[in-house]
Every structure is written in C-alpha cells, then in structure tokens.
C-alpha cells in the first residue's frame, strides 16, 4: 500500500465517529468605511512603528523623492513593468539595471546592486502591510530581496484598512510577498530589532494620484 493510501486510510479510521463541525462563523470585520486621510495616517503610523521611512507625496514628486532616497546608491534595479519616468530624477552616478524576462540579473549581480525600486499591489493600513504579488511593476521576488535598500511605491488608491479587504485584490497563484517593515528579528530576548537578511532599509513613498 502506498504511503498516501495508508495515511488517508488512517484518517478515515480516526474519524470513524464522524465528528460534525459547525459552520464557520465569520463575524469578524470584512469591510470598513475609513476615509482616505485616516487610512493614510494609519498606514504611516504602522510603517513608522516598523522603522520604515515614509513620505506622502503627489505623483509628480516621485522622480524627486526616488532620487533623494537613492542619493547614496551606486546602482538600482527595477522591474521591466515599472514606469521608468519614476527614475528620471536619478543622476548619472546611479547605474540603472532593468530586470526583464529573458534578461534576468544573476543573484551575484543583484547582490552588487545597492537598491531596488518597485511598485506594490495593495497595502493594509491596520497592520502596516505592503503586498507585492508579482505584477510586472513589482517584478520577481529576488529583486526586492537581495539589494539592501527597497524603495517601494504605494499608490494611495491601493490602501485598504483591513486584511479581508485586501484579499480579493490579489493575484492568488502568483508568488506573493507581504512586507511589514524592513527585515527584523525578535529572536534575542523577544525584543524586536530591525535589520537582518532582507533589505535593512525600507522607504515607502505613498503616492496620491496614481
């Protein structure tokens, strides 16, 4: 008998008493009517608590702010679907590297890249969570992981208050990364400190009019 057949057989015999489970009560909050200003405040509060850098700006200010965030960087990687206009404020000192299908950067190249700029799919204000779901303006997972500095664009129109409100907006079967602040650990005395293997600097640009 295969292991699968045996395990499934064990499950059947374990449940021989035919337990009846109740319907799942879903009385928790599924929607919210929080206004935009409050949503912004809430998300800013959470991200600052996680020690992320946060700016609330207009779409026209993106190039200026991206350039300011990458002031010390020597190179930046961006996904092929990103609006390259966002990088138009970068000086010549910052080498721009595109990561595109058929022209992927190697892990070693990513490791030598100072920063990454991506957009994001949806953000949850209550928990301070930015979700990337692999759209072309966010790219594959490695590019937002290996460089030590992540500049992430969050369109204000993509902010929701509650996690259940974010779920329908996500592409389910593409790989997802939920990001709540820069990398951190609570492994020493259960106190949180920021900065381990993932990007140690997370700058979030929350953008009106995108």
């Amino acid at each position: 008998m295969s292991a699968k057949d045996e395990i499934l057989g064990r499950i059947r015999s374990a449940l021989a008493d035919a337990p009846v489970a109740q319907e799942v009560p879903r009385e928790y909050r599924k929607t919210s009517d929080m206004g935009e200003a409050e949503l912004i405040d809430l998300l800013v509060d959470r991200l600052v608590d996680y020690k992320a850098g946060v700016d609330v700006i207009d779409a026209a200010q993106i190039p200026e702010y991206v350039a300011a965030k990458l002031a010390g960087a020597s190179s930046v990687v961006y996904p092929h679907g990103l609006d390259t206009g966002w990088l138009s404020g970068l000086g010549e000192k910052v080498e721009q590297r595109i990561d595109a299908p058929g022209a992927r950067l190697s892990i070693a190249e990513l490791d030598e890249t100072s920063a990454v700029v991506t957009s994001s799919a949806v953000s949850v204000a209550e928990s301070g969570t930015i979700i990337l779901d692999g759209e072309p303006n966010q790219g594959r997972r490695a590019i937002s992981l290996v460089p030590d500095h992540h500049v992430c664009i969050v369109p204000i129109s993509s902010i929701v208050r509650l996690l259940p409100e974010a779920m329908p907006r996500l592409a389910i079967t593409r790989p997802q990364t939920w990001i709540s602040g820069p990398s951190a650990t609570s492994d020493i005395e259960l106190e949180r400190v920021e900065g381990v293997h993932g990007p140690r600097t997370l700058d979030v640009l929350m953008v009106r009019g995108l």
Binding site: E126, R140, L145, I172, W178, S186, E189, V196, G198
Partner: protein, 490 residues
C-alpha cells in the same frame, strides 16, 4: 474502496519524547538561575506586547471563533482537503510526497537532496523537520544542513537544543549569544558587542554567502491552501525569503494538519498568528507560493506531507483539537510552569502547554515518560485564554491524565499511594454521610498539630506539600456538624 484500520494508528517518532519524568527534569532546570532570569524577562516582555496588539482589535474574539471553526471543519474533512491540495499543487508543477512517519520523511528528503548532487542545504526554521530530526539524519548521509533563522542558528552553533517553538534560543540572553558567536563563527568581529542589532548583523554576514550560493532549501510551512495549492511561510528576518526564492530546489516538509480549505482563510490566520506569536500587528515577511512559477523562484518544488502520529491524535475525540495548533507559542509565553522550567524540561520538540498535550497525543500516552507531561500544569487556564484557535488545553490535559491513569492501572500490579488516596477519596467524598463520618476525626488532627496549631510534616506523597507549606490545625467541628447542632436542633 473504504479500508478499515483496526486499532490505533501508529504513533509518531523522532524528537517527541520526554526521557525522564517531568518533575525530575523540572527540578534540574529550576536550579538554572540564569535560564530562569532569561525566560522570565522574555516571556514577560512578550506578554505585554501580545495584550497590546490583541486589545487593538475589536473583533479579536470573532477572529478566534472563526479560526477555531475553520480548523475543526478542516479536521472533520481532512482526507478531502489533502486530496484537493495535492491536485492543485501538482497542477501548478509541484511534486507531492507522503510520509507515514519520521523515518520515511527523512528518507524522502535525503533522496531528493541527493538527486540534486548538492552536499549542503539551507533551512528555514521548521517545527516539522525539528520533530523528525532531519538535520541529524542528513548529517549521517553526508549532507550538511545550515539553519538560517537567527535563533536556530544560535542553537545550532551552540550545539544546544531548542527550548521554544518560536524562539528556540529563548533560554539564552544577549551576552550568552554573543559568546556563542565569538566562539563558533569562522569569521567574526572579535569586538562584537551584545547589542541585539549587532548580533543580527553578525548573523547576516555569517549567512550571506550561503544564501546566495545555496542550491537546495528545506522549509516548513505555516499553512497550505487546498483550493489553490498554495503554501505559506511566515517569518521576520528575510532568511525565509532567501531560502524560498534563490535556490533551484525547494523541499517543504509539512504536517498534514496544516492544510486550510480556502484562500480566504488566511485572512483569519494572518491576523491571529503574528499578534499571538511575536506580539506584532504583522510579521515583517510572509511568502506565498503556488507550485512552480516560471522565471521566479525555485523550479524544482516538492512537498512532503507528514503523518508521524497526527492521525493518532486525530483519532482521540477529546484530544483532536490539539491538531488545530498554529504554532504561535502564545500558550508557552503565558504559562507559569514553562516560564520557570523552560522548554528543555518537556523533552519533546513541542514544549509548554501545547507540548504537554501534543507530544503524548502524537506518540501515545504510554510511550517513554510522555505520560508525565499532562501533569506539568496547575490548570490555571492562561493557555486557553491566550490560544488564538481556542484549544481547550486544560480540558485536554485532564483528559490525558485520565488516559495515563488508566494505562497505568493495567501496568501496575500493586496500587500506588496516589491510587489508594483516590480510591479512599472516592469513598469518603462519594457520600455526605461518609465525609461526615470522617470529619468526626478532625479533633484528632487538631491534637496532632500541636501547640503551634500547624502541621509541618506529612509522610508519603503528602510530603510534597509539607516540603514548603504548613497545614493549619483542623477545626474542632466541621461545618456539617455545626449546621446540625446550631441550625437543625433549634
């Protein structure tokens, strides 16, 4: 097609055993004052954090109700959910393996690693692989496993054993961690301080090359979604993302109870889990992957679905909800016993209140000293209050004590002192009349308590009480007799 299995399904193997009676292990651990200080500090820190972030949510109880019900419903239909998961994971290019027990899981993983030609693997913290002793097995097969979670790294470098399911090195303080790093890391700044941020940086440097060059990663999973075939790992440091994204081959080992029916269900568990475990509104990183994604992440993706005693636990109708556990560790963080003994006292990979029920449920109560685990609780109920999926741990502890007593009845020829006490107590307390009769002897007890009016030393098992506590002199007359004399005779 229905096959009926008679008798109890096989028990789990691996690191699930208490090897000495809990009171003996606890006695030793209680003497470790540094460990107790470290644990007290860490557990008290996390308790306050958890209460704050839980208190923020107006619908916390509703989330707990939903989480508990989703789990119960899943367990009641586990076979269908696993088949559904397998179908969807396979359809997206993943490969599913089934393992009856620890040995089988270890063999499957070893074969998969060998097939890649790699002699080393990077690992994301995983309770399942800890449970089956995968690292030790791989070592015997000539494959080196590198733990990448900071706490696991501390434990691995220090040749230690994990003592907590979320923070395996919780028993070590920052200075002890620094000393381990200085001694064991091949390349390390000799002036490393014990500042947690500096220690985290040292771990980053130590593991960076490994991450970037690893060909094979091994992970656990926090959940598997049946209707999409998606797997999820919840973490903080980014070591998980590194392992799940950069290598060519990813092997996940997951207990069969971790499956959830629907994609939407994670909206419940991703609110319950981070707040209950690290006391954060959300953990820094969560990764979700569905089979193989072209051009993104490992192209050779496996999952090993592990039984190892889970079906045995499922067969216990008063204990099966222990399988609902989402490994948040809130129960151990609030447990007054765990706080004082630490996790090593429980023997098994799973310590604390959940371990005290889960380990014997997975292995059987009669195996080794696991029968002593359900007694490792004052039944104060703090664990039940904290549990995000409302596992009634105190009730299951009591149930398992019943199993243990019954198992021992058949084993011992002669009744123990406790047996005799309980037999006598059953008679004395089984009738008002009998208790009344016994209470006639109260003046005798009063006499025995002497001038000080206290009893300071009792024989036999009762000496456990008088080791640190007096017993007051009994009254001359019970309430029952007073009532007869004062209330009824008038």
């Amino acid at each position: 097609m229905t096959q009926v299995f008679l008798g109890m399904p096989a028990g789990g193997q691996g690191n699930l055993f208490e090897t000495e009676p809990f009171p003996k292990a606890a006695h030793r651990e209680l003497g470790n004052t540094q460990m107790r200080k470290n644990l007290r500090h860490a557990t008290h820190t996390i308790r306050d954090k958890r209460l704050n972030v839980v208190g923020e949510l107006p619908d916390w109880e509703e989330l707990r109700d939903a989480g508990s019900a989703i789990k119960n419903l899943t367990m009641a239909n586990l076979e269908e959910r696993l088949e559904e998961f397998e179908k969807n994971f396979t359809a997206r290019g993943g490969i599913v393996h089934w393992a009856r027990d620890a040995d089988e899981a270890n063999k499957i993983v070893t074969e998969l690693v060998k097939a890649t030609g790699s002699k080393e693997v990077v690992k994301v913290k995983s309770m399942a692989t800890q449970e089956i002793g995968l690292n030790e097995h791989l070592e015997t097969e000539g494959i080196e496993a590198f733990e990448t979670d900071l706490a696991e790294l501390i434990v691995q470098l220090g040749n230690d054993k994990p003592s907590h399911i979320l923070v395996p090195a919780i028993h070590k303080n920052r200075t002890e961690v620094r000393d381990i790093f200085l001694k064991e890391m091949p390349v390390v700044d000799p002036n490393l301080t014990d500042e947690p941020a500096k220690l985290a940086e040292a771990a980053r440097k130590h593991l960076r090359k490994k991450f970037l060059s690893a060909k094979v990663a091994i992970s656990g999973a926090n959940f598997a979604l049946a209707d999409t075939g998606t797997l999820g790992v919840v973490e903080s440091e980014g070591n998980g993302r590194m392992c799940l994204t950069l290598p060519e081959t990813l092997i996940t080992v997951m207990g069969i109870e971790k499956v959830l029916p629907h994609w939407e269900d994670i909206e419940v568990f991703m609110q319950l889990l981070p707040r209950s475990s690290t006391g954060e509104r959300m953990n820094p990183y969560t990764s979700l992957w569905t089979g193989v994604s072209e051009d993104d992440g490992p192209q050779n993706v496996h999952i090993v679905l592990l039984d190892n005693g889970r079906t045995r636990a499922l067969a216990d109708r008063f204990g099966r909800t222990a399988l609902n556990c989402i490994r948040c560790s809130a129960c151990m963080n609030v447990c007054p016993v765990y706080e004082r003994t630490g996790g090593h006292a429980y023997g098994s990979t799973y310590p604390g209140p959940i371990g005290a029920i889960l380990s014997p449920l997975l292995t059987g109560i009669e195996v080794e000293e696991n029968g002593s685990l359900p007694y490792a609780s004052s039944l104060c109920g703090a664990c039940y209050d904290a549990c995000p999926v409302k596992i009634n741990i105190p009730e299951i502890l009591v149930h398992l004590r019943g199993e243990d007593v019954d198992a021992n009845r058949d084993k011992h020829k002669l009744p123990t002192q406790m047996d005799l006490l309980m037999k006598g107590g059953s008679w004395a307390l089984g009738k008002g009349k009998n208790l009344g009769l016994l209470e006639k002897a109260l003046p005798l007890g009063r006499l025995m308590s002497g001038k000080e009016k206290k009893i300071k030393k009792l024989p036999g098992i009762a000496a456990g009480w008088t080791a640190s506590r007096d017993i007051p002199a009994p009254p001359n007359k019970s309430f029952r007799d007073w009532w007869s004399d004062e209330k009824e005779s008038k």
